[in-house]
C-alpha cells in the first residue's frame, strides 16, 4: 500500500499532496516539512530509499523518492510494495505528466494542481497501484479531458478574457527561465 504521495519543490513548497490515510491539515503540513527535511539533505547520488520519518508510518514504511530538477516526488509505502517497482512507478508518473503537459515543468504543477491530481488518480487509487501502462493512463486522461471540453470546461470564454485583463497589471511573469536542464515555460493563460 502507498500511504502518501507528496510532491514538493527544492524549498519544501508543496505542489501536490495526496494522503491515503487521514491526517488533519496541520499534521499533513508537519509531515511535509519533516519529509522535506529528510529528503532535501541527501545528495543526489545516494540511494532513493529512506527509512524513518517518525510522523508517517513506522518501521514497516519507507520513503521512496526521486528528485527531478526542482521537484521531489516522494512516495511513502509499506513493505508490500516493491522498492524498485515504486521507483519505476514514479518514473512512469513523471513521464505521463510530461506527455500530458508537453514538457512538464514545475509551473505546470503549480497552476494545474487539479489536473495533476486527475492524472495521478489514473495511476494510483486509494493507495494501490491502478495502472502502470503509460499509454493507457494517457488515453484515459485525454478521454476525460475531452469530455470536460465537450461540457464547456470549468471556465468559458468570458472568464478567460477577464483573466487576461487581470494579468495586465501584474508584475512580470517569468518567461523561459532555464534552471539546469529543465525548461520552465510560461503557463498558458488559457486554462484548457
Amino acid at each position: 500500500m502507498i500511504k502518501a504521495i507528496l510532491i514538493f519543490n527544492n524549498h519544501g513548497k508543496p505542489r501536490l499532496i495526496r494522503f491515503y490515510q487521514y491526517f488533519a491539515e496541520d499534521m499533513q503540513q508537519q509531515i511535509i516539512r519533516e519529509t522535506f527535511h529528510l529528503v532535501s539533505k541527501r545528495d543526489d547520488n545516494v540511494c532513493n530509499f529512506l527509512e524513518g520519518g517518525s510522523l508517517i508510518g513506522g518501521s514497516d514504511y519507507k520513503l521512496i523518492y526521486r528528485h527531478y530538477a526542482t521537484l521531489y516526488f516522494v512516495f511513502c509505502v509499506d513493505s508490500s510494495e516493491s522498492e524498485l517497482g515504486i521507483l519505476d512507478l514514479i518514473q512512469v508518473f513523471v513521464e505521463t505528466l510530461d506527455k500530458c503537459f508537453e514538457n512538464v515543468c514545475e509551473l505546470d504543477l503549480i497552476f494545474h494542481m487539479d489536473k495533476v491530481h486527475y492524472i495521478l488518480q489514473e495511476v494510483v487509487m486509494g493507495g494501490m497501484v491502478l495502472e502502470t501502462n503509460m499509454n493507457e493512463i494517457v488515453a484515459q486522461v485525454e478521454l476525460q479531458n475531452r469530455m470536460e471540453k465537450s461540457e464547456g470546461g470549468l471556465s468559458t470564454a468570458p472568464a478567460r478574457a477577464v483573466s487576461a485583463v487581470k494579468n495586465m497589471n501584474l508584475p512580470e511573469i517569468p518567461r523561459n527561465i532555464n534552471i539546469g536542464d529543465i525548461n520552465i515555460k510560461v503557463p498558458s493563460l488559457s486554462p484548457f
Binding site: Q28, C47, E51, Q121, M128, Q144, L154
Partner: protein, 1237 residues
Amino acid sequence: MALKIVKGSIDRMFDKNLQDLVRGIRNHKDDEAKYISTCIDEIKQELKQDNIAVKANAVCKLTYLQMLGYDVSWAAFNIVEVMSSSKFTYKRIGYLAASQCFHEGTDVIMLTTNQIRKDLSSPNQYDTGVALTGLSCFVTPDLARDLANDIMTLMSHTKPYIRKKAVLIMYKVFLKYPESLRPAFPRLKEKLEDPDPGVQSAAVNVICELARRNPKNYLSLAPLFFKLMTSSTNNWVLIKIIKLFGALTPLEPRLGKKLIEPLTNLIHSTSAMSLLYECVNTVIAVLISLSSGMPNHSASIQLCVQKLRILIEDSDQNLKYLGLLAMSKILKTHPKSVQSHKDLILQCLDDKDESIRLRALDLLYGMVSKKNLMEIVKKLMLHVDKAEGTTYRDELLTKIIDICSQSNFQYITNFEWYISILVELTRLEGTRHGHLIASQMLDVAIRVKAIRGFAVAQMATLLDNAHLLTGNTQRNGICEVLYAAAWICGEFSEHLEDPMQTLEAMLRPKVATLPGHIQAVYVQNAAKLFATVLRKHDGETESQAAQETSQLLIDRLPLFVQSANLEVQERASCILQLVKYIQKLQQKNVEVAEEVTALFAGELNPVAPKAQKKVPIPEGLDLDAWINEPPSESESEDEKPKAVFAKEEPKHSRSRHTEVDEKELARRREVRKQEQANNPFYIKASPSSQKVYDAPGVEHIPVVQIDLSVPLKVPGMPMSDQYLKLEVERRQKEKAERKKKEKKKKREKRGKERKADSGPESEEDITPAHQVDIVTEEMPENALPSDDDDKDPNDPHKALDIDLDKPLADSEKLPVRTHRPEALKSPAEDRDSESVPQETKKKSGKEKKKDKEKDRKRSKEEKKKKKKHKEVEEELLESQPEEAVQSEETKEAAAPPTSTSAEQEVCVLMCVCLQEVTAPSSAAAAVDTSSAAAPESEPDEPKDTEPEDTKSSKHKKKKQKKEKEEKEKKKKKRHHHHHQHHSDAGGEDSVQNGTVEEEEPLPVSQSHSVSLKQEVKVYDIQGNHQDESKVVVSVIFENKSDSFLKSMEFNVLDSLNSKLQRPEGAGAHDSLTVPFQLPPGVSNEARFVFSVQSIIMPQKLKGTLTFIVKSDESSTHEKLDFKLHFTCTSYLITTPCYSDAYAKLLESGDLKGSSLRLEGINMPFHHLLARICFHHHFSVVERIDSCASMYSRSIQGHHVCLLVKTSDQTVSIDAKCDEPSLLGNVLDEIKQTFSKC
C-alpha cells in the same frame, strides 16, 4: 429568471479561477496569509450562489488551499453539492475535493450514499470511475456496507476501466466492512483470470494485500497463483505474486519446494532488476521456511548470495542498498554464507551514503561470532574516530553496544575487553548516548560477577579523571557514565584497591556541577565507600585513617546539602548527620564499622523488564474485595452490582477485624519470611539460580579463574586493542594445547559430541577468557512464558482474518438496497414499487405467450451480450433486468436518505430461519408436492391451517397442472429443508455472520433433468427503537434454478400477535409483491415489516411465496412454503450499558430473577461471552476473571441482565428481567445455543 442567469454569468466573469488564485498567492509573498483569507472570504461568497459552475470553481480553489494547510472542512456540504452535479467537469472537482478532505469524522458523508450509488450506476463510465476513485479515499464503514453490493456488481462491468477500479476498491471495502469479504471473494478470485491485464493486476494486488495480513486463509489460492506466475509476463503482476509467495511459504513448506525451481529460472532469465530482487527475496523466504526441514539447498543459497553480491557491488546505490537489505534476511538463517562476504560489507561501511552504511551496520550485527567480534568492533571503533560529531557516529556507538550485548553477551569471550571498549567510548564528545554506555557498564558489572574487580578498578580511574568527561556539561551526555562509575565503585567497593582515593575523588567540589541525579548517586555511594573504609580499618584501635575519612565527609558534604536538587540535598543531609554521629562514636572508641556496613549489606539482582507484568495473581487474592466493609449509610449507592444476584455467596469473611494474639503474629511473621525467601523481588543473599552459561556445578557464586595471560590492571586508560592481541595469542595457545591433546587421543566421545553440535567454525572451541556467570534477569517463578504482548489489538486487518475456503453460507449476502414495505408510505417510493409489480402482474395474468417470446428474446440478448461486450447502454439494461430494476430503485430511493439511515442504526444482524425446498419427484409428483407444501420434511404441518390461502393456491395448482401436463418432459425437483438457523448457529464456532447453510443431502435421483430450486432465507430481523411494535425482516430470495422467476408474491399467515404490514387498502390476507424478478442464479433481498404485539414469546409464522417460473418454452406457477421463526432473542437489541447504570438498574428491584446452569461447556470464557453477545445480542458490562455481567434491551424496552459465571465446565447464568416470561424464553434460547456445541 433570465436576468438571474445573466447576472450569474456576469458575476462569474470576475471570479478568480484556480490559476488566478495561484498567481495571486505568488504575487503576495509578503502577506500571503492575509491574501488567502480575503480569497477564502470570496470563496464563501461564491459558495452561496446558486450557480453550480461558480460553486465548482470555488471548491476547486479550496482544494488548492487545503494543500497549503488550510482546513476546508467547513465547505464539506458545498463539496457534496458539487459532487452531485450532473456535469462530469464539476462532479470530478467535487470528488477530488472530497477525496482530499473527507474522512470518517465528516458528518456529511452519510448524505453522499445515494449520490455515490447513482454515480456508480451511471451510464457514463467516467462518472463511475470518478466516484470509485473518490470513494476509495473516504469510504467509511457505513458507506462500505451500503455500497458493497453495488461495487461488487461493478466488478463484472463490461468496461475493464471500471472493473479494475471496482476490484481495487473492494480492498478498502473489506477493511471497513469485513463481512463483505466472504460474499465478494469468489468474484474477486474470478478476476484473477480476467482477460484484461489491468483488471488481473488489480485483483492480484488486492489479494496480495489481503494475504499479507492473514496468509493462512489464502493458501488454497497457491495453485492458481502458481499458474499465474508461470504464465504471466507482466512484471508488476509477477512481483506482487512473488511477494505473496514470500508470505505464504512460511505456512506451507511444500509450496516452497515447488517454488524454488521456477524462481531460480526467473532469477537466471529476467533482466528486470526489480523482479530479480523480489525473486531473490522470496527464495530467501523459502529457504528460511525450509531451513528446519531440508538443509540441502546450498545451491540456492549460493545463487542468492552471489546475485546479491552483484547487486551490492553495483554502482547504483539503490541496488546496493537493497542487496544489503536482502542479505540481512539470509543472515538470520544462513549466517555462514553471508559471513564469507564480510569484506564487502565492511567496505560498505565506508560508503558515502548513510542509508547504506546503516544497512551494513545492521548486517554486522548478525555476522559477529565469538571469533570475530573483537576484530569487527575494532574496525567499528576506527569508524567512530573518523565520524566525529555526526549522528552517524551515535548510530555507530549504539550498534557497537548492540552487537556486543546481543543475546545476553553471547559473543563476548573477554569482558575486560568489553569494559575497556565501553571506557574508550566514553571519550566520545557530544554523544547523546552516555546513558546507554552507563547502562551497559552497570549491566556487565552486576551480571558478570567475575569482572567486578576489573570494572571497579576502571570505574575508579574514570571517577578520578572525571574532569575529562565533564568538559561541557550542558550538552554533553557522556557524563552519564559517571553515574554508572560511581554506583559500581560504591556497590562493589570491596574490590577497590584504594577506596579512600576514590572517595576523595567523589567528593570533589567540581562534582556539584554535575546533573542532580548523578550527584545523588555520588553522595549515596560516598556513604558506601565510607563504610568500606571503616571496615578496612576495623580492629585497629584509634584508627587515624577512619577518623580522617569521617572528617573528610563532614567537610565536603555540606556542599551537597546546599544543592538545589532535592534528592541530593536530602541524601547529603541524611548522610552528613549519620557521619557526624559516627564520628562521635569513633571519638569514644566505639566499634562502628560493623553497623555502618550493615546499612549497605545485601546484593541487588537485575530484574527483567517484564517481570512485574508476569507475576501471576496469587490464589485467593481479590483486589476488588473490600478490606473493610463500606460504611452502612452509603451502602445503597456503593453496593456492588454482583451482590444483587441471589446466588452470590459472600466470599470474604469479616474476620479481619478480629484481634490476633501474639502467637498468631509470630506465626505470620514466620510465614512472611518464608514467602520473602521465595519471592524474587525481595533482595536476599543468594542470587537467582538461572544461568546462561553452562557454569559447571550448581554453585553460581563466581568462579573467578582469571586467565593469567590477561593483566589484571592496565595502567591508565585501558586499550582494547591490547586485548585483541592477547586474545589472538591466547587462542593460538589453546589451539596448540588442544592439538597436543588430540595427539594423545584423549578426546574420544566428548570431543565428537562437541564437533557434532558446533558447526565447522567450531564456535564452542573458543573458550571464554573468564569462567563467567552471567546472571540473567530475574522473572517471577511461575511466570508464563508466552509472549503475547506484541500483538496490536487495533490492527484493522485482524477483522479480515476470515476463512475463505468454507462454502459461502447463503445468509452471507451483501446488503442489497431494496424497497421496504414501510417506505411505501412515501409517495415517491409508492409509485416506483407499484410500477414494477404492475408490469409483472400484467404479464403473469394474461399474456403468457407474449411473455415467453419476450423471455426468449431476453435470453438471446443475453447470449449476444456475452459475445459483444460493447452494446448500447439501454440494451444492456434490458438484458440485465435485475440491474435495471435496481438502478431505477436507487434513483427513487435517493429521495429520503436520512430516514433510512436512522433505521439502520438499530439494525441487528441475525439469522432466524433458513429455508430451502427440495423434494425428489417425477413430473406428476412435483405438481403434488409443490402445492402440498413439501409434506415429507414438515409432516406435522397441517394443511388445513391455511384456509385463507386455499382458494388462490388451488387456482394456481390447476394452472400448474395444465402446464405440466403439456410439458411432460419437464421434471422438477424441489427441496424442502427447514432449518431453524438461529438456534443451530451456536454450533459453529468460526461463523462470521452466524449463519451456515447446512446442506441437507439432496435425494439423488438420476431422472431429474431440470432442477428447480428457490430459496427463501430470513437472515435479518431488525428491531426498531423508534417504533417498539415493529420488526423488519429481511428476506433473501435466491434463484437456484436455471429458469427465470418473476411475479413473486410473499404472504404470511398473520397470527394474533404478529401481523405482516400491508399497504393501506389491502386486505388482511393479500400477498405483497416482491419488487423484483430473479434471473437464474441471482439473489436479491426484500424487507418486510411486521407489527408485533407482544414480544415475550417466540413465534413461528407460516408463509407462502408464489412465483412464476419461466424457462425457454414454458412458464409455470410455483409455490413455496416457509416458516418464519421469531425468537425472543430477535427482539433484543444490543445496547451498551455502563456499569453504574447497570448497578442502579439491578438495585431498582423491578427485575425478576431466574437462572440457568449449563454443564460440560469447555470453551474459553471469552468465547462463551462472545457467543452470547453474538447470538443473543448482549453486551458485556463488566468482566472480572471468570465472571461477567451482561446487558441487553428488548425493542419494547425490557431490560435483560445476565451474570455469567464459570468454573470447571459449568456455566451458571443468573438473569434478571422485568418480564419473566421473556427472560425464560431468552434463557431457553441460550441453552439451546450451547446445547449444540
